[in-house]
Amino acid sequence: MSFRDRLLGRDRRSAQTARKRLQLVLIHDRAGISPGKLDALKDDLIAAISRHVEIDASNVHVSLRSERDKQRLVADIPLATSRARRRELG
């Protein structure tokens, strides 16, 4: 690790970075969904659900999760609470 890296707080060894990148790329490879496609899916999801219920669109998270033998698409969709709505209204 160089002194500069240390200064910048980049104190992570490269193998750890490799491990994280590998995990992420494999999750997408195995599911056959690129990160860009996942973003498009998220937009469609927001549009579809918004037709039925008001949601907090800026806090929607869609991700892929990998378990031993299953791939899971996980969507976390917060509903627009009255408090959030009030905030939005100013």
């Binding site: 060894r13 750890q16 491990r19 590998l22 494999l26 490879d29 195995r30």
Partner: protein, 268 residues
């Protein structure tokens, strides 16, 4: 004798398929198990030079498949070890000269002549790869401890399962123990964690592999080479022997490190 057909493949190019095929073949034959190595990398023949048999080629795989010679005539005998043969790839042809059916037929004919048939697969996932895995009883996937190579190995593992040829077994090649220990290279645990596949070999980076390829003398012939040792271990595991995985980088491996330091002239 009914041979077992083992295909060595990788997805990513240049990770050590040809090196592994030659050395596992040499190691099996040295242990007294007759082996035939087949170079299925048509158009990019290399197993012949790694084995040091390039000057003795008369016929090749495509000659056999197209009936220009008998199977026996295409088998080059290695004179350094008992019962090791090479069937070279054709150099001036392309991979469509051979079909998966051809490979199955050829291996079936060979099965009664040896105990092991090792097939060196070309890189990629196209026709050449399909030819190489068609006759396989077991597929060995080889990778390097790098993100790109492991990613491609994952893809290959999936394809092999889809073809009904799984589960394969994994060889991790070119490990640098010092780098893994420092946390600057993926170790076998990291890789096995994401790939979920059985391990059959851990091969360290070893300069002797390169000098061996300069001379056409596979490292498995070299008793003092660490990579040669690792390939011999793979051969023994193929034969059902329980060979523990030597920790390449345990904290206590002080003597080993010193001896490596001395051998490599002190450059780390």
């Amino acid at each position: 004798m009914t041979a077992k057909v083992v295909t060595i493949t990788s997805g990513k190019g240049g990770v050590g398929k040809t090196t592994a095929t030659a050395n596992i073949g040499v190691a099996l034959a040295s242990l007294g198990h007759p082996a035939v190595c087949i170079d299925a990398d048509i158009g990019l023949r290399n197993l012949d030079v790694i084995m040091g048999l390039e000057n003795r080629i008369v016929y090749d795989l495509v000659d056999v498949v197209e009936g220009r010679c008998k199977l026996r005539q295409s088998m080059i005998k290695d004179k350094r070890v008992p019962d090791l043969y090479l069937i070279p790839a054709a150099q001036a042809r392309d991979k469509t000269s051979v079909s998966p059916q051809d490979m199955i037929r050829l291996c079936d004919e060979l099965r009664s002549h040896c105990e092991w048939i090792l097939i060196d697969s070309p890189a990629g996932i196209e026709r050449g790869f399909r030819n190489a895995i068609a006759p396989a009883d077991l597929v060995l996937i080889i990778t390097n401890p790098e993100v790109s190579a492991v990613r491609d190995a994952d893809r290959i593992i999936g394809l092999i399962e889809a073809e009904g040829k799984g589960p394969g077994q994994l060889i991790i090649n070119r490990l640098k123990p010092e780098m893994v220990k420092k946390g600057d290279m993926l170790g076998e645990e990291d890789i096995l964690d994401v790939l979920a596949i059985e391990l059959i070999g851990l091969v360290p980076e070893d300069d002797a592999v390169i000098t061996a390829s300069n001379q056409g003398n596979p490292v498995a012939l070299n008793a003092s080479s660490s990579a040669g040792n690792a390939f011999r271990d793979i051969a023994r595991r193929l034969n059902g022997e329980e060979v523990p995985f030597e920790p390449l980088y345990d904290q206590q491996g002080f003597l080993k490190r010193i001896s490596r330091l001395v051998r490599s002239g002190g450059d780390r």
